[in-house]
């Protein structure tokens, strides 16, 4: 039952993948190509006018390796035929041995309670935002647009966006809590480091119902390795919920000759009443 519920939550996010094949495959202009016209994803990282790496492009987080997926959800590799999500999307503590994740006792108690009714109580089942870091790990593309002063992330799911200020401002002391938080970014060598705070406590970190508080701080280090590949080191620090900060490494790949589709979760809201729950 638990596994079935998890898949419902994941399926909510995977839906746009079905439609991708119907979209226009307009060749992305200006990307490096091999002599036969195919995108050259191992070409060098492009640079912006200011000499910094240019992260602009359409990105998607790599799915979990099959063995990892099987260990997280037995039987899942024979699943629905969709591209599976990242292991961290299923369980942000996928790198930890069972029972060793740094949950505070109250967090663990809340998790046991939420686990009974994943699909019914997930914010996603109610078409609420994914929040962070779920939006960045979801099995749906997002687009980075890097400009002087601001970098923008456009998420396909629910056609929602996030702004990262790069004009040198500091994080505000007491921002209004939001789903996506308040983000400022700066360069550390070739890594783009984004600090975010000001989250509300309503989103989940993953499909497994790992929660967070409004004290959560998130740091992302984006490193574009070459034209087609990026690593994101993502650190969550939430002392109200977890006994220590923890870091995951997301591998992302560029999707050439494709683009974002319009997606409004509210169009699927009709599904909610069909979900089972205790």
């Amino acid at each position: 039952m638990r596994n079935r519920n998890i898949w419902i939550v994941i399926a909510l996010l995977a839906a746009p993948a079905f439609m991708r094949a119907q979209w226009l495959n307009h060749p992305t202009p200006g990307i490096p190509r091999t002599p036969d016209g195919k995108p050259n994803l191992s070409a060098r990282t492009p640079r912006a006018a200011d000499g910094k790496p240019d992260l602009s492009g359409l990105w998607q987080t790599e799915p979990a390796p099959p063995a990892m997926l099987e260990s997280l959800i037995p039987g899942a590799t024979n699943g629905s035929g969709d591209e599976p999500p990242s292991q961290y999307f299923i369980n942000i503590f996928a790198d930890f041995k069972p029972g060793e994740a740094p949950l505070k006792p109250a967090t663990a108690a809340l998790l046991r309670q939420l686990e009974q009714t994943y699909a019914k109580v997930s914010p996603l089942s109610h078409c609420l935002p994914e929040g962070m870091p779920l939006a960045e790990m979801a099995p749906a593309p997002y687009k980075i647009i890097q400009t002087p002063g601001m970098t923008v992330m456009l998420y396909e799911r629910d056609t929602t966006f996030r702004q990262v200020y790069t004009d040198g401002r500091k994080l505000p002391d007491n921002p209004q809590p939001t789903w996506l938080g308040y983000s400022v970014g700066k360069w550390d060598g070739d890594s783009f480091v984004v600090d975010t705070l000001g989250f509300n406590d309503r989103s989940w970190l993953d499909a497994r119902a790992h929660t967070h508080s409004d004290a959560m701080r998130m740091t992302e280090r984006f490193h574009r390795l070459d034209f087609g590949h990026m690593e994101v080191l993502l650190t969550i620090d939430d002392p109200k919920t977890y006994t220590m900060p923890f870091t995951i490494k997301l591998r992302q790949r560029l999707l050439p000759d494709s683009d974002l589709l319009e997606d409004f979760c509210a169009e699927n809201e009709k599904d909610l009443r069909h979900f089972e729950g205790k």
Binding site: M19, Q22, W23, L24, H26, P29, G30, A49, S56, H126, C127, L128, P129, I145, T147, G149, M150, V152, L154, T159, T160, F161, Q163, D167, G168, R169, P172, P175, Q176, T178, W179, L180, D259, L260, L261, E262, F264, A266, E267, E269
Partner: protein
Amino acid sequence: MKIFESILGSAVLLFTSVIPVSAQWLHYPTPGIPRTPDGKPDLSAPAPKTPDGKPDLSGIWTAPEDKWFRDLGAGGAEVPMLPWAAALYKQRKENLQKGHPSERCLGHGVTDYDTLNTPRRIIQTPGVIAMLFEAYNHYRQIFLDGRPLPKPTQPSYMGYSVGKWEGDTLVVDTTGLNDQGWLDMNGHPQTETTHVTERFHRRDFGHMDLQLTIDDPKAYTKPWGASLSLNYLPDEELIESICENEKDFQHMVGK
């Protein structure tokens, strides 16, 4: 009539309720904008240019009032509706906006986001413009890389938009719209053959003319539209505004 007005007023409020919150937000001085000697934004300074010499439309903008958002024909032009469109419009208007996609958190489309008097940020790059709307936290893309409008595939609320420069005016053509969106809150119909043309001209630093043209022989006997001027909002930010689960829906009264 008084009651009608007040109901209409409160219905419109549902969609504009983020405005008072703006005052609570951080007023971080927008870096790099022209200022007068006393430090105030100089909104009549010349329109900025991008490195490639095109006008730069980037910044936070808003419509000055909500009259076009309520009724795209509010400028006084006759709206040449075909009989079916006129009948549907009458029904929607009399029903006080009940049935508008926004009551189900589906937000707005091209014309009603353009005419909404809440902030939206334009981010302009050589190949694409992103419009980030405070309302519903939605975005829209306009491709500037010279691609043609595609044959309609999956009709959508925002459609598919391509833009090109005609002198200092950005001309944006949009097709691929669905027939679920409304052109305005009163309910002027949109169909899958609606072609919207937007002409953006940044007159000076603080003001942008926007001319909207609706061409849809399936619903209207000839092209029609609206002309308005958007205002630049200096030293402001977008605030996150999430539509939560049809909470508005139960308050819509209908006829």
